[in-house]
């Protein structure tokens, strides 16, 4: 075991440095790219939060959740409701986001208590019910008045601070906010999973009996993983509302939950860096498929079928080439290259 020199010994310092580099890259990228790239960046950042949270729960703690789209909905609606109760916009956006995150964390805790009693397919089934059921609450007659029914609730957009200049667009500012949120989540989750909590999560995933004998309270650990995971998804959901200025049931469908699950598997189960790869793929591949369909000048109907088929094909190829996800593949390739260099 080699120890790294100076402050790099500390995991938090390493994670912080990576985050700073990423922040600089994001800031630089948004300067040269257009406003559509801003929107895509915001989308990727939102997926990063939810997927990083889900990879901690499913990849590291072994609890499958098909319901993370519902947790994003809870975050989004919480933010919208807080803003409704603050019509003059006294609360800074950061406070609204913290409240939405905390509300989703509480919801995650409640779901987690139930989830800690369920295993494998039963847990998947229960969370699937959440994914389908929770967004539909907004349509239910009892809640339609408060939650806006099918139309949903509007979310106020923040204003870019004036010191950034008048040419600094709102899209730009929104993508920066989302990127900042994603980087905070990445930083915090990276710290957590490299600490004793991360090891505890994995121990419970691999063997609950051995974990209990090592002094781990298994159910409490599972609930904690759910809370952490829900908080990340909640922040992502709140920012999704902010970026689209709207929260509505149609924005949090089962397809969203499945996309999140696709993201953790593509990126590499349990890897925080993998969550970033997964998010990029989940956002860009459908985009590329549509572009490709356009460039092949199919008819509209054929084109949409083609896009879906191409997306599926990419997923299959990625999983065949990198069975342990993109991050797993990168780590393996890196290891092979490093050993080749060492041998000379």
């Amino acid at each position: 075991m080699t120890r790294m020199p100076g402050p790099l010994r500390f995991a938090a310092v390493r994670h912080g440095l990576v985050v700073i580099v990423l922040a600089a890259a994001v800031a630089g990228y948004t300067q040269i790219a257009g406003s559509f790239a801003d929107f895509q960046l915001a989308q990727i950042a939102i997926y990063v939060m939810a997927i990083a949270g889900l990879t901690v729960l499913t990849g590291l703690n072994g609890q499958v959740s098909l319901g993370h789209g519902a947790l994003m909905a809870i975050g989004g609606y919480s933010a919208a409701l807080v803003m409704q109760h603050d019509p003059n916009g006294h609360l800074p956006l950061a406070v609204v986001l913290v409240i939405a995150t905390a509300a989703t964390a509480v919801a995650g805790g409640i779901i987690g208590v139930a989830a800690a009693r369920l295993r494998g397919p039963y847990l998947a089934g229960a969370t699937l019910a959440l994914a389908v059921g929770i967004p539909q609450l907004a349509v239910a007659r009892q809640f339609a008045h408060t939650l806006g029914g099918e139309q949903g609730l509007t979310v106020r957009s923040p204003q870019a601070p004036s010191f950034l200049g008048s040419s600094f667009s709102l899209e730009h500012w929104l993508s920066w906010i989302c990127a900042a949120g994603a980087l905070v989540v990445l930083f915090l989750l990276s710290n957590l999973v490299t600490s004793r909590y991360g090891r505890t999560f994995r121990a419970v995933r691999d063997d609950e009996i051995a974990a209990a004998l090592a002094g781990i309270h298994v159910a409490r650990t599972q609930v904690l993983a759910f809370v952490v995971s829900a908080a990340s998804a909640g922040l992502g959901g709140a920012l999704l509302g902010v970026v689209t200025s709207l929260v509505a049931p149609a924005g949090f469908t089962l397809v969203l939950s499945i996309a999140l699950l696709t993201g953790i598997v593509l990126g590499g189960l349990g890897s925080i860096v993998g969550a970033v790869w997964g998010s990029i793929l989940v956002v860009y591949v459908p985009q590329w498929s549509t572009d490709l369909a356009h460039s092949l000048s199919f008819s509209t109907v054929m084109g949409s079928y083609f896009a879906v088929a191409f997306y599926g094909l990419v997923l299959i190829v990625v999983m065949l080439v990198f069975p342990s996800g993109l991050q797993g593949g990168i780590v393996r390739l890196w290891g092979m290259a490093a050993s080749r260099v060492r041998r000379g």
């Binding site: 004793r196 994995r202 051995a210 209990a212 004998l213 090592a214």
Partner: protein, 285 residues
């Protein structure tokens, strides 16, 4: 969490209770009596072996001690204090660590990570500190790592630290599982079939290790390999059909006719006939 009241050390010298005591423990699964009024004690500084034919209730006994199985009647005491309800995760904080049959390591983690989890109990820091990567968490991490590396060193498997268990020889995996239990610094170590799957030489090494451990803790082991049990144990408890049929030093147990009968089998009529025929199987043993 359990609260510990301060113990007067001087008092401990002459009035100390054994670390672990089971009295009259009975376990019934439906109509089957897995343990029938089993009483035993185990203390620091001694190696207690629990032996018996297959199905005698050895592992059930361990499971009762660990809280996986609730006894139908009878009670357990730790340091002379009754334990009304043990939960498995509370065991290490009572100073009791256990290894599982097979290896029971977490396969998705390196050996070092496995052992580090074992050390968690000794070094705690808060959730927020871990989330933010604050100094208390950093200090805890390095303390956990140091104690894990120290135990790996002591058991001579430091080279295995960064490997996944499945990529290592079985004997190393077994050692790693003992390391994970030892790093919690238990006063009582329960070993469930530690020698299964080991070669004769590896078993000798294991025997040496267990004798060494005796200086700092008590060891209780369930084991099938008689050579190992006879050489390492100070005291042996023999179970048969869930009941204790003999207790004593290895020599006493070896010469006990009831034990030989349990192991080699004996017709019901002969067993009832008592010591006259009881001596007979000795020749066969």
């Amino acid at each position: 969490m359990t609260k510990s009241t301060p113990i007067d050390v001087r008092e401990c010298h002459y009035r100390r209770m054994p670390v672990l005591a089971a009295s009259e423990v009975t376990v019934r699964f439906g109509g089957l009596t897995a343990l029938n009024r089993v009483s035993l004690t185990a203390d620091t500084g001694e190696v207690v072996g629990v032996i018996g034919p297959n199905g005698a209730g050895k592992t059930t006994l361990f499971n009762v001690i660990c809280g996986f199985v609730r006894p139908t009647s009878g009670r357990l005491e730790v340091d002379g204090r009754p334990l009304p309800r043990v939960h498995p995760h509370q065991l290490v904080s009572l100073g009791i660590a256990r290894t599982l049959q097979g290896v029971g390591l977490w396969q998705g983690m390196t050996v070092l990570d496995n052992v580090m989890v074992g050390a968690h109990r000794r070094h705690r820091s808060g959730f927020w500190s871990a989330l933010l990567g604050l100094p208390p968490s950093v200090r805890t991490e390095s303390a956990i790592r140091d104690s894990a590396v120290e135990v790996l060193d002591r058991l001579g498997i430091r080279d295995a630290a960064n490997h996944r268990p499945a990529s290592l020889p079985y004997a190393i995996q077994k050692r790693a599982s003992i390391a994970r239990a030892l790093v919690a610094e238990p006063r009582m170590l329960l070993l469930d079939e530690p020698a299964s799957g080991l070669s004769a030489a590896e078993m000798d090494e294991l025997g040496e290790l267990i004798r060494e451990l005796r200086s700092t803790m008590g060891v209780m082991l369930v084991e099938h390999h008689m050579d190992l049990v006879m050489t390492v144990c100070d005291r042996i408890v023999v179970l048969d059909f869930g009941a204790v049929i003999a207790t004593g030093t290895p020599d006493q147990v070896r010469d006990d006719p009831a034990v030989t009968a349990a192991y080699l089998g004996q017709e019901v009529g002969q067993a009832d006939a008592g010591p006259v025929t009881g001596g007979e199987p000795e020749g066969q043993a």
